[in-house]
């Protein structure tokens, strides 16, 4: 009897563990089943590399959106990662305990603010600044990148900080004992030792930035043209889906789902990099 019970529980645990496999499979099946036929109908090259997106006239090229997503993510990383790493250094090696009790929840709160609120903030605060500095409408690649850079800060800070804290204290103390300043010890002994953690932070940041929707939609301008400069507007794949899903029917809707498929593939690639990195660490 006992054995049967144990067996049943074992099976139950196993089934629960397999739910995540099931979930990923279901997502793949549903997205591919509704997205791939559309890609076939439009034509793979016309869809992926077409530069004209005018669903009402039958043009479905998402190349500008792919470029937009990549560029925005790139700028977000360039802005968010250095600040995030420096802030993590501050938290693990500079911050006095009393201040830490305030800073740590602050960073957590920054992570918890809904993205729509970030979007409003960007639209009312960052967009006018950008307009003043660079002219144009202020809604641009750069604006979206900066806003996303701020949004990925908590992710980068948290991951980097925990990997910095995992570095043995002896690294830092050894450097200090050799006569290095506090900064040199931190930046040239502890930080390099946390390299893989920092790389993980970057990849997580990229994942968050490329998948962000509600904030970008408000500050990017959403033009479906390949940006000529850093101050011209762009549309990302995510905002393309949210903007037009409500209206779309037929091939248009399938093309939007196909956009989701492309996004999904991007995320898969990023995840593969992440797990490859983890394996190397182990």
């Amino acid at each position: 009897m006992q054995k049967v019970k144990e067996g049943i529980m074992h099976a139950l645990f196993l089934i629960c563990a397999c739910v995540s496999i099931l979930a990923v499979v279901l997502i793949c099946v549903y997205l591919l089943a509704s997205g791939v036929p559309a890609i076939g109908e439009i034509g793979v090259t016309d869809f992926l590399f077409g530069t004209k997106w005018k669903p009402s006239s039958g043009y479905y090229g998402i190349f500008p959106m792919i470029i937009g997503s990549i560029l925005v993510t790139g700028i977000a990383v360039v802005i968010g990662v250095p600040i995030g790493i420096l802030c993590a250094v501050f938290m693990s090696h500079y911050c006095p305990k009393k201040l830490y009790r305030f800073v740590k929840p602050a960073i957590n709160l920054l992570a918890g603010i809904p993205s729509i609120v970030y979007g409003f903030f960007g639209l009312v605060v960052i967009v006018p600044i950008m307009k003043e500095l660079f002219g144009g409408s202020g809604k641009s690649l750069l604006t979206a990148g900066i806003l996303l850079g701020i949004m990925i800060l908590p992710t980068v800070i948290k991951t980097t900080e925990s990997s910095l804290n995992a570095v043995p204290k002896s690294y830092y103390e050894g450097a200090l004992a050799l006569g290095a300043t506090h900064e040199r010890s931190v930046f040239f002994a502890s930080l390099p030792a946390a390299k893989s953690g920092i790389l993980a932070a970057i990849i997580l940041g990229v994942g968050r930035a490329i998948g962000e929707t509600m904030a970008v939609i408000l500050v990017a301008g959403n033009q479906t043209v390949i940006p000529k400069s850093i101050t011209s507007g762009i549309r990302t794949m995510t905002s393309n889906i949210v903007m037009e899903m409500g209206y779309a029917g037929g091939l248009h809707r399938e093309a939007l789902i196909a956009t989701g498929v492309v996004l999904f593939v991007f995320i898969l690639i990023i995840n593969l990099c992440f797990s490859a990195l983890k394996r190397r660490k182990d």
């Binding site: 397999c18 995540s20 549903y30 420096l86 500079y94 920054l110 995320i267």
Partner: protein
């Protein structure tokens, strides 16, 4: 910005507190060091600037929400029923509560059991375990809009549920599953092996050990995962707009016609859309912010308790 150096100075005084370092370094010695090594000085300034930027940004955003939202918080926004006159956020708050509860009811047992399997039952190097880990990681990386698309295709269209609360709940449950699995795994791994050995030694079976010894010990860790998930659910919008829709009232059923339910975040998104109720949208943002703050506070408390137990 002009007060940055002074702020840095005071910080630096604090960092030389005796509990942090083996050697007491006086401010003078510290300054002399910086004079000798400008690189260190620059790095120090950069670190301080980054910290000030991050925290400053948060204060800025919070101030922005409060200034725009607090003046528009009125008692009638907490009426039980939504009408176009009072624009009440109460139904949305209750919807958020119901959906959070349902999501947790679905996701927590599955997530915890999955973690139990991974930690307690699976053999090392098992191929299945590898696949489970990869898929869990994939799941945690999928953007919410893709979840939304999927939920819409599967539940709203294929299952014919229409915009329904249940569609949103299951989509959310899938989203938070990896988070629960990961935090539970960590909590289980932190349970000392001696507990297991003791339990086995007393003649308890594996199942008994798991339920009576290991899981109770891991409860605080699991709780912190649950709290993080609640935060994620409350802040979610992109995945819900296409699944549970924009219904302004508390639905009578979970699926089918009239079961659409907007959470507070979606409610805020809809209010802001047509430009008719932007002030009320900011008022909901204030409530949302307060909620987020509360959730963080609780998760902080739990984390501190875990740390105390360990220490």
């Amino acid at each position: 910005m002009t007060d940055a150096p002074t702020a840095a100075m005071t910080n630096e005084k604090k960092t030389t507190a005796p509990e942090n370092y083996i050697n007491r370094v006086t401010l003078g010695a510290r300054l002399k060091q910086y004079a000798r090594s400008p690189l260190s000085l620059i790095l120090m300034i950069l670190v301080m600037l980054a910290a000030i930027f991050s925290v400053g940004m948060l204060i800025f955003i919070i101030a922005y929400i409060l200034i725009n939202g607090v003046p528009h918080l009125t008692a009638e926004q907490f009426d039980w029923n939504y009408t176009t006159e009072n624009v009440s956020m109460m139904p949305a708050m209750i919807n958020t509560l119901i959906m959070t509860a349902l999501t947790l009811v679905i996701a927590v047992p599955i997530g915890v059991f999955a973690a139990v399997y991974l930690v307690e039952y699976a053999k090392r190097g098992n191929k299945l375990v590898k696949i489970i880990r990869v898929t869990t990681e994939t799941l945690s990386g999928i953007p919410s809009i893709v979840f939304g698309l999927f939920g819409y295709l599967m539940f709203n269209i294929s299952f014919g549920w229409g915009f329904s609360m249940m569609a949103g709940v299951i989509t959310l449950a899938m989203m938070i599953l990896p988070l629960i699995i990961r935090t539970t795994e960590e909590a289980l791994l932190a349970v000392p092996d001696s507990y297991r050995e003791g339990s086995f030694g007393l003649g308890a079976g594996k199942m008994r050990t798991v339920f009576r010894v290991i899981l109770p010990t891991a409860v605080p860790g699991i709780m912190s995962g649950v709290i993080l998930s609640i935060g994620r659910i409350v802040g979610e919008s992109a995945a819900l707009i296409f699944t549970s829709g924009s219904g302004h009232s508390i639905p009578g059923s979970l699926v089918g016609s009239g079961s659409s339910a907007a959470t507070l975040t979606v409610h805020m998104y809809i209010l802001s859309n047509e430009g008719l109720h932007v002030n009320e949208a900011f008022a909901s943002a204030v409530v949302l912010l307060a909620l987020t703050f509360l959730i963080n506070l609780v998760s902080d408390l739990i984390e501190r308790r875990i740390a105390k137990k360990k220490g």
